[in-house]
Every structure is written in structure tokens, then in C-alpha cells.
């Protein structure tokens, strides 16, 4: 909402600067998010003093030397008759943009060079005076900015009006608050306070009222509780008076003509959208408020032909729709230069119905914005008379008739306030007298009712419905900054950290320590795995209308983004949500860890110019390590899976993730990419209940101390010829089983194919470490173990040692 500081002051002569008003409103009412001095375009103009002046023969021109404070005297040619040596004038240096858009340049006129311009009031947009340049009566030195010298200071305050306070969508509404905060009484601006009152009474009726030359009928009382109309005859459409034009322009509008400007004055001044019809163009001299008929059309004032639907509310004459009620007028009944008789509509349209009409038309206006949020219905009678008188005053007509059909809906119901509750909520008792005074200052009628106060909101405050709403009024009028701040001692909360958060933090710490970088990309997808895709009904784009089923897919697209930017070392991880549709319920959501690695395993170093690239074995170990960190106390196994998967991550016997090669859209230089995806847990979405505080998450087993060895270990290697049909893990198992309790470690350290190894076989070598807890093992014992292991391998697996 644009508020003109000057206009506001005409409602409440508060005597404060625009800055003070801004701070007052922001602290107590609504945030002023814009502060725009209106004549910022005059900022480059300075005070110039004419030092010498001579006439240019045979012209009206003078050749002058002007002091602009820059130190050098400037030569300036001027056409004005009133140049006087020693006098000061507004001066535009070369390069200055005039309010009308012209840029002042160095010019040659009649052989004289002109380096700037002395300006008239009209040239500065300060009035119509163009008889001569504007003499400044000031002591200011040449070079002083003009704005420091002239009282030009209207300021536009842009107020961020939130949806609960439609009463602030006008100067009067904001002025009410300023009046309450400053104690200066609210009044009508002089330009409307002095208007003549309508001598008679409006014609009224519940659904219909008639005067000679106009009939107003409300057919749809739900959409339009009340409709006021004024008939103004003898109107001359023409330019507005200066004060009205200034008011309209101060709020960012454009002056059109006296009739339109008067309607805008009512809108911005009083928050009441009004509309002027050319009475001559209303067929049957009728105004009917009704639903649009199927197939009906209307060309609105913006020149668009609109097909109407029955959900829309229209103003019609006896024949056809002629305006979209509460949204925009129609071209057919528009006021033009030829108009002499005007019907001014001052009505209340129901918020929801206005929204329906506005949405159906796809058209939002200042009027619909206010009707959707609710206007002050009780003010209709006042504003009808005031608006009619204003229009007659600025457009030179007379008010013939007023009509008022229907009635305002009742004022909001009174709300009871317990003064003790104010202190209870704010943390500091507020004296009853102050509570009362605060509420009364903004229009509430307050009566004592036992220990409580019965507070009747004014007609413009439908947002106040509960005690707490009244407490807010008291709090903000006192000022949030004046309320105490006291850190209260707190009891410990009952809510444990969410297990998925704990899992995220654990897995993130390890991922970062492993050199991975966290990402937070968008979770939309072009498709996904399985049939249970969740589709957004109104997606931002049809290219990615689904919610993802896999974090890894998202990471793959992010890796491709990096490859496109020639970045081949990509190590990303995300803990994010995946979605699967569930019929008749919210989607199934899982929090998953995704990891993508590609490129060099470590940064290049001079000792090793080409480090190895990430491979499947890196991915496997990373997956094991991350899974253990994410899911402590759970049994985790990586089981070989079918290509293109490498491994399935099995947690407590159930598949919970994968390790896979990723097929990316990648350039030839890219290294292979590997991905890990692991479900950390399911995010429940059923309504929770007190009882459903689930079982605590499993925890990691507490480590137990094992005595450090005091005896030497015996270490030997076994190189074995293993047929390709036998997995290394199987051989390891047999070794561990057969090794007995003294086998401390059993590590696969070599794989070899080729020379000396028969086809269909590979050579695998294990390093075995044996230790007796109490004594040194004898050579003979070690030899015995070795022989026995080989025998077991031979008998169980048919695996023999590699000789040679």
C-alpha cells in the first residue's frame, strides 16, 4: 500500500517527519518497506546564481554567467524574461535529466555556448508557471541541492499490509493508527471536509431502490450485501485540480481525468473501491447485481473481451453485463469526454465471491484486492455521500440522487478480554487502564464486565475474534520493543532427537571425513523406478513433474552438470527424501543416503603424478563404512548383486541399499562413476498419537576391552590356486573355520592370473596370523596348522596350494 506522507498528514496533522512516521508504523502497525522521496528526479538540480547577464540582440535570449558552486562561472543562454543579476534560480548542469525526460546538453545558440539551463517551475514539474524562471528566495550558496532549499518533500511510504489488516489499505486506515499512536485526533482532509452535504436522504430498499432515472436491484444478495449509487448530473469531464492530481500521483497512479481521479481518491483515501458509469449508457436506466449468465460476454476497461461464467458476479443494466463486480468496469458504460451524467457505484462485494470472479477472469485490480480482504461496510453511507459530493465538486456537477440498497453486515461480535491474561501471555502485567485506552484509541468500544473487559471491535476490524487478538493489539500499541525480555528457566523437553536426524549427522560426519561434499538439490524427477510415482498436480514444469524415487538419480544428474563444466573429480553425497505413492494415504517417504564418486581417488602429488581413480573396491569399503556409521548396532552385509548393480546392502537380513556402477551421460575423458544408496529409515506420516512413541533405535554395541597380546605372533602366507567357480569369501570362511581360536587375522592380500596359473583358476594369497594367548608357538605347531589348513581346503573346496 502506497501512502503519501502529505495525504496522511491531511487526515492526522501529526507534525512528524516522514522518517518518524515510517519508524512509528513499522514498530507498531505494519512494516514500511519502501521510503521514496517523490521528487528524487530533482536530486541533481542545484541552486545557481546569475553573476552577469546581457541580452542577445534581436532575440528574447540573454547570455549569462552562472555560479553553480563548482568554482568556474558557466556560460548559459536563457530565454526567460526575468533573469536578474545576483538572483538565484534552479539550475540544471549539462547531463541533467529534466523531469520531462530531456537531457541537458552543451549547445550552441546564436553563436553562444550554453552549459546548462536555468529552470522554470513548469520545467521542474512544480506547477504551471512558465512565465519565467523560478526565482529562489534562499540564503543557500550556489551549488546547494535544490531539494535542500525547496519544501518539495512528499514521501511515498510503501506499507507491507498483511492479509489480516485490510483496514490499512487506505490513508484513513493508516491515519487511524497514527492518530492512536500520537494522540492527535483523526479528521477529514480539508479538501473533502468542506464539501456540501447532500440535502436529502438516500432512497433505500432491501433488494431494490428507485429514483427518477435509475433503478438499483440486488439479485444476488450473498455476493453483494449492499449497493450504494449516486446520480450526478451536469458533469464536465476534464483535467483534475492540482491537489487531486498530486494526490493520485503521490500514490503512484496516473491522473486520467477528474471523474476517474475522484474514484481513485476514494479508493486510496478511504479504502473503498468505487466505479463511475456513464448514466446514459445504462440500458433501461437500471443497475442489477447478479450472477453472470452462461455465454455472456463483456469487454472490460482493459479492452479485453471476456467470456463470463455463472460463478462470476456482474453489474448489469437492463440488457447485459456492464461491469465485473468488484473487479473492473466495462468499456460500454465507460465515462468519456462526452459524459455529462454519472452514476457512482459505492458497494460492498463479498470477499469470497470477489475472489471467485477475479480468479475466473484472471484479473486482479486494486478494487478486487480490497474487496477480497473486506472493506468497512459500515462506512458505505458516509462514503457514498462524500464520494458524490467530491465528484460533483471536481467535475462541476450536482448530486441529484443517492440510493442505498441492502445493508451492511453486522459489526464483528464483542470479544471478552481478561486483563490478567495479557500479563500471562506477554510476561508483564499491563495496567487495565492502559489496556482500555489502547483498545479505545483504535476504535474498540470497551465495557467492564466483572473482572473482564467486553471489547466490541469497530466495523473495520473483522480480524479480531479471540482474546488473543486483543492481546496482540495491546502488545503492538505498547510496542514490542517496550515489552520485557526475560529468559525463563525451562524444564527439559520430552521430545528425543529424531532418529533420522541422528543418523544424518552420523553419516554426514563420516562422509565429510571421507572427502565427500554435501549437496541439497531439487528432488523433482522426469520419471523414476517402479510404478508408484508421486506426481505433482500442478508442477512447475512438465519436464520434471514427479517426486524422485531415488537419491542416486538426482546425484547422477548433478554429476553430469559437473562433467558439462569439465569437472571430473566429483564426490557428492546427499541425505534426502524419496517418495513412493500409497493409494489413499500420504506417500511413503524414506530418508536415504546417496553417494556418487568419480575421478581421482586422491589429489595428484609429485610423488605419484597419477593417483588411482575411484573403483568398485573403494565404493564397497565406503558403503560398508557409511552403513555401519548410519545404522549402528545393525548387522550389515554387502552381498553381490546382478549387474549393473555391484552389491546389495543388506541390513539385518533385508535389502536396504545398493552399490552400483552409474551410467552417466559422460564425455570420453570421464572416469567411471560409482554410486551408493542406503535407506536410513522411513519417515512416518500417519497422524501420531501419545502412545506411539516408538521403540528406541538400536544402538551400537558398547566396545569391550580385550587384553593386549603378551606373546609373539606367528605369521605365514598361503598362496592358493582357486578355481573361478569358488568365491574368495568361501575360501576365507573355510580358513577361518579351520584356523581355530588361535587364528587372529586372515587377510586376502593378492590376486593373480596368468603365468603358471592354470586356466579357469586364479592365485589368491592370504596372510594368516596365529597367536597363542600364553606362550610362543613352536615351529612344529605352526607347520602342523599349515598342513591341516591345506588338507581342509583340499577336502572341502578342492583348493590346493600354488607351488612354484
Amino acid at each position: 500500500m502506497n501512502i503519501s506522507h502529505d495525504w496522511l498528514e491531511r487526515f492526522v496533522p501529526h507534525g512528524r517527519t516522514a522518517e518518524q512516521v515510517r519508524d512509528l508504523l513499522t514498530a507498531h502497525v505494519a512494516t514500511v518497506e519502501g521510503f521514496e522521496p517523490l521528487r528524487a528526479d530533482l536530486a541533481p538540480f542545484v541552486v545557481g546564481r546569475v553573476v552577469e547577464s546581457e541580452r542577445i540582440p534581436d532575440t528574447k535570449l540573454s547570455f549569462n554567467k552562472v555560479d553553480d558552486g563548482s568554482g568556474a562561472l558557466l556560460e548559459v543562454v536563457c530565454g526567460a524574461p526575468n533573469v536578474a543579476v545576483g538572483a538565484k534560480y534552479p539550475f540544471a548542469r549539462t547531463g541533467t535529466t529534466m523531469p520531462a525526460g530531456l537531457v541537458i546538453e552543451k549547445r550552441k545558440i546564436r553563436g553562444f555556448t550554453s552549459n546548462g539551463m536555468l529552470c522554470s517551475a513548469r520545467e521542474l514539474g512544480l506547477g504551471e508557471d512558465h512565465d519565467g524562471i523560478l526565482a529562489l528566495e534562499t540564503d543557500a550558496d550556489p551549488g546547494t541541492p535544490l531539494l535542500d532549499v525547496l519544501p518539495l518533500g512528499d514521501v511515498r511510504l510503501v506499507v507491507d499490509v498483511l492479509p489480516n489488516r485490510p483496514d490499512l489499505l487506505s490513508h484513513r486506515g493508516v491515519a487511524r493508527e497514527v492518530a492512536a499512536l500520537t494522540g492527535v485526533p483523526l479528521r477529514l482532509p480539508a479538501e473533502v471536509a468542506s464539501l456540501p452535504a447532500f440535502p436529502g436522504k438516500p432512497a433505500t430498499g432491501a433488494q431494490e431502490a428507485r429514483v427518477p432515472g435509475l433503478r438499483v436491484t440486488i439479485e444476488d444478495g450473498e455476493g453483494c450485501p449492499q449497493y450504494g449509487a449516486a446520480v450526478i448530473a451536469g458533469v464536465t469531464v476534464g483535467p483534475s485540480p492540482a491537489w487531486l492530481r498530486a494526490a493520485v500521483e503521490a500514490v503512484g497512479g496516473r491522473s486520467i481525468n477528474n471523474v476517474v481521479d475522484a474514484t481513485n481518491y476514494l479508493l486510496h483515501g478511504f479504502g473503498q473501491p468505487v466505479h463511475a458509469f456513464d448514466a446514459a449508457k445504462l440500458a433501461g436506466d437500471a443497475i442489477i447485481v447478479r450472477r453472470a449468465r452462461a455465454g455472456e460476454t463483456l469487454r472490460t476497461l482493459d479492452g479485453v473481451d471476456r467470456k463470463l461464467g455463472t460463478e462470476m458476479l456482474v453489474i448489469a443494466d437492463a440488457e447485459r453485463a456492464t461491469a465485473l463486480a468488484g473487479v473492473m468496469g466495462g468499456e460500454a458504460s465507460e465515462v468519456t469526454a462526452a459524459t455529462t451524467r454519472v452514476v457512482l457505484e459505492v458497494a460492498t462485494f463479498e470477499p469470497r465471491r470477489t475472489r471467485t470472479t477475479r480468479r475466473a477472469a484472471g484479473l486482479s485490480t486494486d478494487a478486487s484486492y480490497r474487496f477480497e480482504r473486506g472493506v468497512d461496510e459500515a462506512a458505505l453511507g458516509e462514503l457514498l455521500a462524500l464520494g458524490a459530493a467530491l465528484l460533483a465538486s471536481v467535475a462541476g456537477g450536482r448530486v441529484e440522487h443517492l440510493l442505498h440498497v441492502g445493508a451492511p453486515r453486522p459489526d464483528p461480535a464483542p470479544v471478552t478480554l481478561r486483563p490478567s491474561r495479557v500479563g500471562h501471555l506477554l510476561g508483564d502485567a499491563v495496567p487495565v487502564g492502559e489496556i482500555r485506552a489502547a483498545l479505545e484509541s483504535i476504535g474498540f468500544r470497551v465495557e467492564a464486565s466483572g473482572d473482564a473487559l467486553r471489547c466490541a471491535p469497530p466495523s473495520w476490524r473483522h480480524d479480531v475474534a479471540r482474546e488473543v487478538d486483543l492481546i496482540e493489539e495491546v502488545a503492538r500499541l505498547r510496542g514490542f520493543d517496550r515489552l520485557p525480555d526475560v529468559l525463563q528457566g525451562a524444564r527439559p523437553g520430552t521430545v528425543p532427537d529424531h532418529p533420522l536426524w541422528t543418523a544424518y549427522r552420523r553419516v554426514r560426519d563420516l562422509a565429510v571425513a571421507s572427502g565427500l561434499m554435501e549437496v541439497r538439490p531439487l528432488p523433482f524427477a522426469a520419471g523414476g523406478q517402479g510404478h508408484a510415482l508421486v506426481r505433482v498436480r500442478n508442477p512447475l514444469g512438465e519436464d520434471e513433474p514427479f517426486l524422485r524415487t531415488s537419491v542416486l538419480d538426482t546425484l547422477a544428474r548433478r554429476a553430469e552438470y559437473n562433467l558439462n563444466r569439465m569437472q571430473g573429480d566429483v564426490r557428492l553425497f546427499e541425505v534426502g527424501t524419496t517418495f513412493r505413492a500409497v493409494p489413499g494415504a500420504l506417500p511413503h517417504e524414506e530418508h536415504r543416503l546417496g553417494v556418487l564418486v568419480m575421478g581421482l581417488r586422491r589429489p595428484p602429488h609429485f610423488s605419484e603424478p597419477e593417483p588411482p581413480a575411484w573403483d568398485a573396491w573403494d565404493a564397497k569399503a565406503l558403503a560398508e563404512h557409511l552403513s555401519a556409521a548410519a545404522l549402528p548396532g545393525r548387522a550389515i552385509a554387502l552381498e553381490p548383486a546382478e549387474a549393473p548393480l555391484l552389491w546389495s546392502i543388506v541390513v539385518d537380513g533385508a535389502p536396504a541399499g545398493v552399490v552400483t556402477r552409474l551410467a552417466l551421460d559422460a564425455p570420453v575423458w570421464a572416469r567411471p562413476a560409482f554410486g551408493i544408496e542406503l535407506t536410513l529409515g522411513v519417515m512416518p506420516s500417519a497422524p501420531p498419537s501419545r502412545a506411539a512413541a516408538g521403540a528406541p533405535a538400536p544402538r551400537a554395541a558398547v566396545p569391550r576391552f580385550r587384553a593386549l597380546p603378551t606373546t609373539p605372533a606367528a605369521v605365514f602366507d598361503l598362496a592358493l590356486l582357486v578355481p573361478d567357480t569358488i568365491a574368495a569369501a568361501r575360501v576365507g570362511e573355510v580358513l577361518r573355520d579351520a584356523g581355530g581360536t588361535m587364528l587372529e587375522r586372515c587377510e586376502l592380500f593378492d590376486e593373480f592370473r596368468g603365468g603358471g596359473v592354470p586356466a579357469g583358476h586364479r592365485s589368491l594369497a592370504w596372510r594368516l596370523t596365529f597367536r597363542h594367548p600364553e606362550r610362543t608357538l613352536r615351529d612344529k605347531e605352526i607347520e602342523g596348522r599349515r598342513a591341516q589348513l591345506l588338507k581342509t581346503l583340499e577336502s572341502q573346496l578342492g583348493v590346493r596350494p600354488r607351488t612354484a
Binding site: 554435501e518 559437473n562 609429485f606
Partner: protein, 344 residues
Amino acid sequence: MSLAAFLASLDQLATDGPARIAAADSLEAWSEVRNALVGRQAGRLSEIMNGLGALAKEDRREAGQRANAVKQALEGALEERRAAIAAAAATSGPALDLTMPGRRTWHGAVHPVSLVIDEVIEIFRELGFTVALGPEAETSWYNFGALNFPADHPAMDLHDTLYLGDDQVLRTHTSPVQVRTLQQYPPPVRILAPGNVYRRDFFDASHAPMFAQIEGLVVDEGVTFADLKATLTHFAHRFFSPTTRTRFRPSFFPFTEPSAEMDVACGVCAGSGCAVCKHSGWVEILGSGMVHPAVLEAAGLDSERYTGWAFGMGPARTAISRYGIPDIRILYDSDVRFLEQFAR
């Protein structure tokens, strides 16, 4: 075996040993020599000692003492030689150019938005807050109705909210977690709820269809606006600086009453007005307010007995101003050159 033979073997070892030790010129050679002389398994001394049992009982004492003396002499010589070899290795050969880089590993990084969330959580943890989470796909009731949105609130418009079904939305804020948490756990409740939220905003330099939010909620008996102000001011002092000025201004959210936005004095211009703070001298940090009684009631609590306060902030916006990021889309692109800037 006779004592004489035993002692002769020892003498031989005592004579040969030092020569062999002196001949070792590398640690590998030294290691071999040591094993050959005094190694437990195959060392010459061990071999000789194995003969101890075959001596006459009365000779064993002397033999043992002699053997020990030889062992100590050999071990002394070995240690001397090892030190000499190590010293030679350290000084011989070309010196290391110590200006050359060390062998690095990749450094991981936490996303800047997560860094902000972490910091918020760290500060509130000290005040006894824990972390609660909720689903991102929500019912309209949790997202709007339970939070006291009127049935036809403009936020529910198709233009603002991403719908999954008639009654299902992608949550537009983390506030549904307030209701879910209050349904599950009795007061006192002191939680933070970080998470992703969705709006039907097209991607541009300052808008994204999904972004992180972090919500805070306190509900107990006797919780006041004074506590809200003090706690959030404490947060601002910890998050920005102990001298940061704050202000609270009236605002409106359906689920809080009174509602207040908290601003901090602009860190760039210190309050005098600049482009960052749009010449107001203040930067908006979070929205807050006393929990609306209708929200407590929707969660099944007695709104006469319990009061509470809540706040919500956008870590992405904070991250953008804190780290000087010019375009919000960079946070989503996942460009490794950006992420590396936050490596640690």
C-alpha cells in the same frame, strides 16, 4: 657337551659377532645380522643356549652368566650400529626439499545451508532444544487447517502450493511438525524442526521451488512473549555478534498471535542504510510469535493451561547473505567448485 666346548662357542660368537655387526651397512642388513646372532628362533646365541641343558648341573651357572654377558655385549653393539646407520641415513643423500607439498587427501564439505542449520541447532541445543522431523508430503490439515489457516486462505492457492492430491500438498513450511510433535509428546516441548519446504515459485536468482526452513517451538505452562524475545535475542547475539541490535515488529501469521518479525541491525552498514538492507538499516532474520491457541487446540492441548512460542527462519537466505552468494540457484547446482569453497 662339555663346559669348555660351550664356552668356546660363546667365545667364537663374541669374536665373530662384532665384526658382522660392524659390516651391516643398512637397516635391512642390520636386521639380518641381528636375527642371525641373537634372534629368538634362529639366532646363533639361541642355538648355543639350547646346549645349556646338556651341561653338568654344576657348570650351568657359569655357562649361563657367560652367555648373558655375550648377549649383552652383542645387543649393545647392535643398538650402537643401528643408531649409526639411522644417523647416516638421515644425513646422507640429497636433502628433502621441505618446501614441496605434502600428500593431501580430498577434503569433504558440508553444504552452506547445512552449516547455517548446524549453527542454529548448536545455539538452541544449549538451551535444551532437541531436533524433531516430519514428512515433506503433508495433508492439507497439517499444513493449513491445524495451523489456523482460514479455509480459503490465499496461500492455499494453486499458484502458491504444490499439490499431490485434493488433500495432499508438499508442505509449504516446517510448521506442520509443530502439530505432529505436540500430538505425540506432552509438554514441555522444546524442539527445532529443520527440513525442506516447497512453494510454487519458479527458479530464479532469489526464489526456489524447494528450500530449507528451520522451525523452533516451545510449549509449556507459563511460556511468555518475554521469553520469546529474550531467547531469540540471545540467539541473534550468538549467531551474529554479542553487540548485534535486534528489533521486533508486528507481523501476521495465522498460527501465531501476537506475531513478530525479528530484524537485526544490518551487518554491512551497521544500521545506517545500504543496498543490502534496502536502506532500512535492518535485515529480517526470522518470523516468530506466540503459538495461536487454535494450534494448541488442534493438537489436543488445553490452550488455557499451556502457552508457547515459535519461530521460523530460512537458512538459505541467511547463507546467501552470510557467504555473499549472489544467486540462490548456486545452492542447488551442486557445482564441485562451489562446494569445495566450504571444504574443511
